[in-house]
């Protein structure tokens, strides 16, 4: 069953077509990779899908609902959450607070927040998530004191904590050491087991080819192909996109 359907989306920055007539779809409970050379438009496509950038043309359907005119936060509430290429954690908040923000949506209104007694369930969920990426000992540390790789893991589990069904990870393996990379890999596979759908942008090809069931390739803002990792790796168009035409 199709969960995300992207239809002919386009975005222009001045004279530059960052994304042009780009279409693809993603099946529910799958892991899909999005690749392409630098400047192919992958992150712009993420920004368009999550509405952090307004698109010039095209439509996006999630669970058959057209996502027109929805703000980014409303998309998260509907079940689409993302990480960013440049890590966006809350540096002045503790690791626990970073997660509680994503976990305790029932206290978003100030008057409800005023009446809350405790956040036992949320605290225990935060600890559980941190344990999965071995960061539980930093739970009361300010997020700004974490290393780059740890911050990346925190951003990933904070995105998971939103409870979204479709998770978009922008370069989760970049700048992460081999041990942490294993943790990310395991985490993504666990998410699939839990019924989540995952779309990953990544330049680390061995990592992506290992975890993905399908790969979408972009070149110059356009859709190039969508196939299994094995077929994509042998596709002459993909090789030419990365290495140039002979």
């Amino acid at each position: 069953m199709i969960q995300l359907e992207v239809k002919n989306i386009s975005k222009k920055f001045g004279g530059l077509h960052a994304v042009e007539d780009f279409s693809f779809d993603i099946a529910e409970n799958s892991i899909t990779g999005l690749i392409g050379p630098n400047g192919a438009g992958k992150t712009t496509a993420f920004n368009l899908i999550t509405h952090f950038l307004p698109r010039d043309e095209g439509n996006i359907f999630f669970k058959n609902e057209n996502l027109k005119n929805k703000s980014p936060f409303a998309l998260v509430q509907r079940g689409i959450a993302r990480t960013f290429q440049q890590i966006r954690i809350f540096p002045e908040l503790t690791v626990r607070e970073n997660l509680l923000l994503a976990l305790s949506s029932q206290y978003d209104s100030w008057w409800k927040s005023f009446l809350k007694k405790d956040e036992k369930e949320e605290n225990s969920a935060a600890f559980q998530l941190l344990s999965e990426v071995k960061l539980e000992k930093y739970i009361d540390e300010k997020a700004k004191n974490l290393s780059y790789g740890q911050s990346k893991l925190l951003e990933i589990i904070r995105t998971i904590a939103t409870g979204a069904d479709l998770l978009l990870f922008d370069e989760p393996a970049a700048g992460v050491n081999p041990t942490m990379l294993m943790t990310v890999k395991k985490l993504i596979r666990e998410l699939k087991k839990k019924g989540k759908t995952i779309l990953v942008i990544e330049h680390n090809m061995p990592f992506l080819m290992e975890i993905s069931e399908e790969i979408i390739v972009m070149e110059n803002g356009k859709f190039l192909c969508q196939d299994t990792p094995e077929k994509v790796q042998k596709d002459i168009r993909v090789l030419e996109a990365y290495l140039g035409k002979s």
């Binding site: 936060f73 509430q77 809350f90 994503a102 978003d108 979204a164």
Partner: protein, 290 residues
């Protein structure tokens, strides 16, 4: 002498409430709003007008000051909070300037530059509470203390956590499914409501009100209190306010001639602000932060 001490305590209490209300929107949420003094002025004028024209009492006026300032803040926020950083600062400073002009020229409502006289003192169970008396100090302590309790709860609630996150990274707040604009509006409304209460307290203490309450030096003093104490730091803003008022009163204690007290106070404020920015940019009381 005793009257002077009572007066100093009362003024300090009013300023601590005003500064803490500003700390909610400016310090905790990171809204660089230079028009906060408008909400203080609106609260003060609401009390002055309702009291002198319609005979409304002190306690009703506290509620009305908070409500009117809060409603005004909602409109003000919808118009300005799409902006951020310096753009927000310029827009809100402009609004503060315009509000002074409106209050000065809307003579029918505010009596213009002549101000409003004859505001009554608070009456509690039939007893009039004289300004600069111990009873007035106790009353102020009770009201400001209750407001501080509410503000403390807001600062340390999950909603307060969202506001702190907005100060860190508003885009990331949206990325975890929070309506950051709505949270900012509520931050401004709550902040304005407490500033409105501070304005009501001022009106019923001074018993006279004129447009100078909106003046630029008041905004600068307010920013000074929060920045010196530490933006977003609850205890810091409280201690910062007390420190600024104490330093402001120093020339009088030392025995400076009356004609140079104002100027020397400004010099001391400037030294304090520059010193804080240079040595303790997170505030003199940043060690109280978690």
């Amino acid at each position: 002498m005793l009257e002077y001490i009572f007066s100093l305590i009362i003024i300090t209490l009013i300023w601590t409430l005003l500064a803490q209300s500003y700390n909610l929107s400016f310090g905790l949420t990171g809204l660089f709003n230079l028009g906060h003094i408008i909400f203080y002025g609106i609260g003060a004028y609401t009390a002055a007008i309702l009291n002198t024209r319609y005979g409304w009492g002190f306690f009703t006026n506290i509620a009305m000051g908070a409500i009117v300032s809060g409603i005004f803040a909602a409109g003000f926020g919808i118009l300005t909070l799409r902006l951020s950083g310096h753009y927000l600062a310029v827009a809100t400073l402009g609004a503060a300037m315009i509000s002074t002009v409106i209050v000065t020229n809307w003579v029918g409502l505010t009596n213009g530059p002549l101000g409003i006289r004859g505001i009554s003192e608070p009456i509690l169970w039939g007893f009039t509470i004289q300004a600069d008396s111990l009873s007035f100090v106790i009353l102020m302590l009770g009201i400001v203390g209750f407001c501080f309790f509410l503000l403390y709860k807001i600062f340390h609630s999950p909603f307060g956590r969202i506001l702190r996150a907005i100060k860190d990274d508003e885009i990331a707040v949206q990325a975890i499914g929070k309506d950051s604009f709505k949270a900012k509006i509520w931050s401004l409304i709550l902040s304005a409501a407490f500033a409105g209460v501070a304005g009501v307290l001022y009106s019923h203490y001074r018993l006279f009100l004129d447009p100078t309450i909106f003046a630029l030096p008041e905004i600068i003093t307010l920013i000074l209190m929060v920045v010196v104490g530490g933006r977003g730091n609850f205890l810091g803003a409280l201690l910062g306010t007390i420190l600024v008022i104490f330093i402001g009163e120093m020339p009088r204690f030392i025995g400076f001639p009356d004609n140079i007290i104002g100027a020397s106070r400004n010099i001391l404020y400037a030294v304090l602000l520059i010193g804080t920015m240079f040595w303790k940019p997170r505030g003199l009381f940043s060690f109280f932060e978690k």
